[in-house]
Structure formats: structure tokens, C-alpha cells
Amino acid sequence: MIDWTQIFSNAAQELISPVTAAYALAALGLAVHFGYTGLLNFGQAGFMALGAYGYAISVLSFGLPVWAAVLVGIGASVVFALILGIPTLRLRADYLAIVTIAAAEILRLIFTTNTFDALTGSASGLQGYKGGFADLNPIPKGTYGFGPFEYNEYDWWVRIVGWSLVVIIALLTWLIMRSPWGRVIKGIREDEDAVRALGKNVYSYKMQSLILGGVYGTLAGMIFVLPRAVVPANYQTSLTFFVYAILLLGGAATILGPIIGSMIFWVLLSFFSGFISRAVEAGWLPFMTQVQAGQLRFILVGIAIMLIVIFRPQGIFGNKKELAFVK
């Protein structure tokens, strides 16, 4: 028989998991890029990898304190954004898409290669960088919570920091997007020549937007690795596409969209994978093996994205008049 409570409780845990927070942050970055500025950044995984490795390498190889490691990660992503943007932001949007997807892959392969094993740990990645962050934890040792949400002090600390960051970044983005800066950015999304003709330095605005959203991605990368190890295989192109799925689900040019979208995405994904793997166990799906069942959830994600784009192109929170993925 299927253990429904287990499935639901696993799914519910995803609501506040650090992964959900990390994806929400990364999706907020893409909301700045794609939703508000119209920049097709397909390399968000690269920005996240820079956050993860920037933090881990700073702590492990250089023994930096937490705040300095965070700054190193942010600095790395600013440099990365500049390198991506300088040649491509003067060109049409599609070039940025090509360059970002390639650059993110280059980063991942650099982190994977054995050449830099001493720093990056190559394919096996990095771990053991959590000490400094755990030391900042004010929560006394023990297990806290209720129902499905029972965690030890470190797990709570990661969740509190992760979600506080999501709230801060969301408020910041909200403030920025309702300001005159946001107005220029939204103008660029539609027609950069029109904005240029009004005396705005479009190139500079696009660069600022690329850096801003990239820094969000970097912070997401840090939150992502705090409960686990840094593994280069996590930063494949599919990561970027999952973040895009979240963004489109919630609404590309919204603040709440990426956050609620991330929650829905992870709760549903956990629910599907739990349900399918247990259904296979129980013999409900005799034509399927456990390995196949593990992949089926991604097929369901694909179907879900197609349904969103067809039936609700503006996403859950989006305004169809302002921005729809399909016009």
C-alpha cells in the first residue's frame, strides 16, 4: 500500500527547504534579466556555480571568514557578468543567450576538470566549508519544529538565512522595479531604440541589470550549497531551465511569481517523484522500473511547462497586458 502521509510530508518539507529558497532567488535574478529587462540569460547555472565555488574555495583554500567568502562570490559574478555583457549587450538579445549558455558550460567544465583539482576538487566537488556559517548560528543545539518540519539547529539556521535573503531580495527588487530605474529597464525590454532616443544609456542599464540578476544567482548558489556539498554536476544547463520553468510558472515580470513558483515547483516535483516511485513499488505501474520512474517526474515538469505556456502564458501572478511569454 502507498504511504500517503510520507508522500505529503516529504512534499510539504519542500515548501521551506533551502533548495526552494535558492531556486526562488535564482528565479528572481532571471525575473530581473528576462522578465523586466528582456535579457535572455541562459547561464544562470553559471552564476550559481560561481556563488557555490566562490564561497567554498574562499573558505577552504584561503580560510576567509563568511562575509569575505560571500563578497568573493559576488565579486566573481560581477566580473563574470561584465565578461559576458561587454561583447554581447550591444548586439541582439539572442547573442546573449548563446554566449551565456556557453559560458556557463565553460565554467562548469573548468570546475570539473582535474587540472584545478587542488582548488575545485574536480568531479567530486568540495565539502567541509560549513564551519564558519554554523558558528554564526545563534540557535542552541537540538531538534525543533512540528509535524513534517522537524530539523536540527543547523538546518533551521540555513532555512532562516535562506528565506530571510529571499524576503530581502524580493523587497529590494520590488523597490527597484517601481522606481524610475525600473521604468527605464521595462522600456528597454520592449524597444531599446525608443529608450535610447530619449537619452538613456541603454548599454549601461542592460549591464547593471545583468550584474544585479547575476548577483541574485550567486547568492542562490551559496544558499544551495550550505545544506549539502558543492558538486559540479549540479550546475548543468538543466538547472537554468528548471529556474526558467519556475519563473514562467510564477510570472516572469513579477516579484511573488518566482518565490511562489519555486514553492509550487518543488512541492509538486517531490509529490510526483514520491508518488510514482511508491506506485512502482506497489506494482501499480507494472510497465516501469524504479529508474524509469525517477525520470518520469521530469517528463511531468515538461508537460506542466507546456500547459502553462499554452493556457496561462503570463504565469500565475503575471499581468497578461504587461508581459506574456507568448504574445
Binding site: S179, P180, V184, A197, Q208, E322
Partner: protein, 304 residues
């Protein structure tokens, strides 16, 4: 077409703009924009090849010419949207060569586009506010602190509403610009250009696709710009409109300036008639026809 529109009032023409004979490249009493030796080629095609032209200040100048004469390309070159192969040009005595488009706009030379660029996904009011210059809230770091730009924002909004009222768009201020009609978008684009208090307004085919009823109001708005002390340079195909409001006409054909003068004399200029109708418009078409056939045959032979 707009040719059957009767003007509501006879506009006051500005005269005495030029020095010497009204010929291509003639000097002006008070030029605001001067271009010298500006050329632009696309592959083997010379789109623009302007030796010398001066645009008079405080007047309405029309840039006319047949399709493909290089008017829009010349516009793009002057405003920094395209880079010429050679040439220098200056606005109010300051060189504009290699100045990016946004800086040109900040100097007070604002343009509109042939295909209207109203930002449909912003509200009409936001479109207008975007036009204002020197907004401190457009800096990323200041944008997060609303108290730094709130006061300026209020001033900009007041100015925007005043302009919208003048262009009879105030009732639409909270609508998305995408919901406006084609003519209203032209009006919005013009109103938005005025938000930055430009000294020279360059309109690329302001009348294209505008219905006759709105044409009159657009004409009045353009005349209004002049009465407020702005200089207007516009590209237009509608000769009736050119004759009605322009103080000075510059005629382009095949990238060159072929004639200049006040609207009534310039339309009788042989070079202008040639440019519009072809130099051989009164010769027998039969001969040219056979020529065309011969050329076509040769082309077909080459293909095979």
C-alpha cells in the same frame, strides 16, 4: 488622404532663413545643425552622400524625397543611430561625430521614428515620464531610496499630465500604450519627445498612417513646437502637409541633396520634378520598355 483637409488657420511662415541663392547646401542665417561630407554606404549602395547642409534654427524644415532617397538613413546618422563612413556634423556648434545616440538626445536633439515606438507595455503616463531628463531615480543605487526621487517624480508627473492634456491623451494616462490607436501613438511619441524640453525635434514621417481628422491636430502640434521656440526637422511624403507647414524644404534623391528652398519654389524646381517623376518622364516609354526587356533577357541568360 489628407490632401482634402482644410487648414484651420493659415500658419505664419518664417522667411529670410538663407544667405545667397536658395541652392543645395546654401548657408543659413542661423543654422542649428550643420552637416559636412556625410556619406554612408551599404555594400555597393551609397545611401547617403551629403556634401553640405544647414538646418535653420527656429523654423520648420521638411526633408523630402522619393522612396529610397536616404532620408531616414540621414536621420539615423544625424541622431547617432547609425555611423557614417565619412563626414562631420555639429549641433549648436558641438560636433556630433562618434557621439552615441543617448548623448545626442541629452544635448536636446530628440527624434521620433517612422514606425512608431510607443512602449505598449508601459502605461501612457510611464511612457511620458520616461522622456524626462536628469532623473535621479534612474540611478540604480538611488532608486531603492524613494525619498531621494519622490519630489522630482511628482514634478515630472505634473509636467507629463500637462503635456498629455495638450495632446488630448490625459484620459488615457493609466492605460497601457498598446491600447492606443495608431494616431494616438504618434501623438504620444511626440508628447514624450517634448518631456525633455528639446531644442531640435526630428520627426520621421509623423503623418504616416494617421487618419485625416488627426492629421490636422498633428499639424497644429508641429506648428505649436515652432511657436514655442523649438526647431523642427521632419521627413514627409505628404506634399500638401509640406507646403502647408514647412518654412524650408530640403530635397534628397539617391542620397544627395538636389534642391533647397521655400516650399512653393522648390516644388517647381526641375531637379525635384526629375527626382520624383524620373528625369525622362516625358520621353517615350516604348524605348525604355524594350531596353528593360533586353536587360531582363540578359539576366535570365546569366542565371542559366
Amino acid at each position: 488622404m489628407s490632401s482634402d483637409v482644410t487648414p484651420t488657420s493659415k500658419p505664419v511662415k518664417t522667411t529670410g532663413l538663407h544667405i545667397g541663392a536658395a541652392e543645395p547646401g546654401c548657408r543659413k542665417v542661423d543654422p542649428i545643425l550643420v552637416a559636412d561630407g556625410v556619406t554612408r554606404t551599404f555594400g555597393g549602395l551609397t545611401a547617403v552622400d551629403v556634401d553640405h547642409v544647414e538646418i535653420p534654427r527656429g523654423a520648420i524644415t521638411a526633408l523630402i524625397g522619393p522612396n529610397g532617397a536616404g532620408k531616414t538613413t540621414f536621420f539615423n546618422l544625424l541622431t547617432g543611430f547609425d555611423k557614417p563612413d565619412t563626414g562631420t556634423w555639429s549641433f549648436e556648434g558641438r560636433s556630433l561625430a562618434h557621439v552615441p545616440a543617448y548623448r545626442v538626445a541629452r544635448m536636446g536633439l530628440i527624434r521620433t521614428f517612422q514606425l512608431t515606438k510607443a512602449l505598449g507595455l508601459l502605461t501612457v503616463l510611464d511612457n511620458m515620464k520616461l522622456g524626462a531628463k536628469n532623473q535621479s531615480g534612474e540611478n540604480l543605487f538611488r532608486s531603492v531610496l524613494p525619498f531621494l526621487w519622490r519630489k522630482q517624480e511628482v514634478e515630472i508627473e505634473a509636467k507629463a499630465m500637462e503635456l498629455l492634456a495638450r495632446f488630448k491623451l490625459d484620459a488615457k494616462s493609466t492605460d497601457y500604450a498598446a491600447s492606443l490607436s495608431g494616431g494616438q501613438r504618434k501623438l504620444l511619441e511626440m508628447a514624450r519627445a517634448l518631456m525633455s524640453d528639446p531644442t531640435l525635434v526630428m520627426l520621421d514621417e509623423p503623418m504616416a498612417g494617421v487618419n485625416p481628422a488627426l492629421t490636422q491636430s498633428l499639424l497644429d502640434h508641429i506648428l505649436d513646437l515652432k511657436s514655442q521656440g523649438m526647431t523642427v526637422l521632419f521627413v514627409e511624403h505628404d506634399m500638401h502637409m509640406v507646403r502647408h507647414i514647412a518654412d524650408w524644404v530640403v530635397v534628397m534623391a539617391e542620397g544627395r541633396i538636389v534642391a533647397e528652398g521655400d516650399p512653393h519654389t522648390v516644388m517647381e524646381d526641375q531637379a525635384v520634378i526629375d527626382a520624383y517623376l524620373g528625369a525622362h518622364h516625358d520621353t517615350d516609354l516604348g524605348a525604355t520598355d524594350t531596353e528593360n526587356v533586353e536587360v531582363l533577357k540578359e539576366l535570365i541568360d546569366d542565371e542559366q
